[in-house]
Symmetry: C2
Subunit: 271 residues, 2 copies
Amino acid sequence: MPESAPGRFASATAVRRENDARYSATLAEGWDIAGNANGGYLLATLARALRDASGKPDAVSVTAHYLSPGKPGPVDIDATVLKAGKTFTTVTGGMTRDDKMLLHATGTFGDLSSRATTVERVEGAPPQLPPPDECVRVEGTSGFPPPMMNNIDLRMHPDDVGFISGAPHGRAQVRGWFRLLDDEPLDSLGLLLAVDAFPPTAFNAALPVAWTPTVELTAHVRARPEGGWLRCEFTTRFVTGGFLEEDGVVWDDSDRLIAQSRQLALLPRQH
Amino acid sequence: MPESAPGRFASATAVRRENDARYSATLAEGWDIAGNANGGYLLATLARALRDASGKPDAVSVTAHYLSPGKPGPVDIDATVLKAGKTFTTVTGGMTRDDKMLLHATGTFGDLSSRATTVERVEGAPPQLPPPDECVRVEGTSGFPPPMMNNIDLRMHPDDVGFISGAPHGRAQVRGWFRLLDDEPLDSLGLLLAVDAFPPTAFNAALPVAWTPTVELTAHVRARPEGGWLRCEFTTRFVTGGFLEEDGVVWDDSDRLIAQSRQLALLPRQH
């Protein structure tokens, strides 16, 4: 049986191992927002190198600090194993271009297929979404929505797209479906893309901002997704001190919670 | 006016700068749980070194990965500035003993007194707590509650202490007051202690666990606390895949949200 070609997400986030502690990669065209690579795309690429260095199959917890915007082109990645354990291995490293660090991340990696699930207690349910075909497919443009939307399949809840036409509903909430294109299977690295792919909650909250740059983003993965579609919901409760958090909850097609994310974002000063 | 002696928290978390990239510290007796230093205490000590290396006054976002337990005694801390900016400086580093890393953290530091607060939107309110004198002061023991409780002033909501006598209320929730002793003022490093000082929510949820070791903890600080008491609330929504999250919300005496925290903790396998 011929090996199938890697999907477009796997190709765009591919890393080359140069040695034990060093990888290289090329940030692809078409995964950017106004010329700069999407944060989730950057994170998935860096995490692919860190995961490789860990020798474990799954990202369990990954935290990234966004330091400089990154345009398409070659980057270097360093990876340092902090602790290699039987259950988890923790790796830290940065993505740099010309000695300028774009992104730094630390991740704990493991094997989610081996995790015990004898005790379960879930307070919450997946967001109620119309079927994907009745949601609004976000199409990429050279401005907003960003070009990356043509490389993923993101369908927003019809109630949450008012901000596009200048009529946000006023709640700091964004809900929708997410999957990779071309039936590319989605693993924990794809989840890292998903948690930063949706429009900011601030747009629906009608906050007077055009952008909310990420300071820090952490994603926790509980299980490998089953099926192609993710049900995603992002909310913000606290806009204060010049910051806002964005909390993501990701469920798979089987209504299982598979990931949580939180990012601290900056409310740019008003001029 | 004579300079006042450093408080017991400042003393216990003091770091000595050896050079640009290296600090030393001594983990103090009495801040442990069953012999191992409390996670928030470890984090505050490491963050004090990283903050010093940043040259900024406040911890804004700090993420820690817990790698090995740490007993009282000397430790080394390395600190690497990833990006020094006008607004924020991001520093990463680890705390080691005998070349074994106990804890690794990455933090973004800044000056919270200068943050714009023109846009505010808060969906939520501080936990409703009886006054501190009507709450339950947790006293340290050599077992549980841990000795650290004698070095802080932690008062739990009377409704949330049932687990101590074997009668948990069944909700994954812990609420209470927190302050440093001897009127020691509390800054963003004290907040890092506070967010890991309360008993696990799992105890009130009546989950069959005696411990829930932390894999990763992130704290976001929105403002410097005003007044001595913090109002704290910790909840868990998702116990699944062998993990649980613990979400903290911290308010100050003026009813301002000043911090959020989230940790991913491990549900030990049942035997």
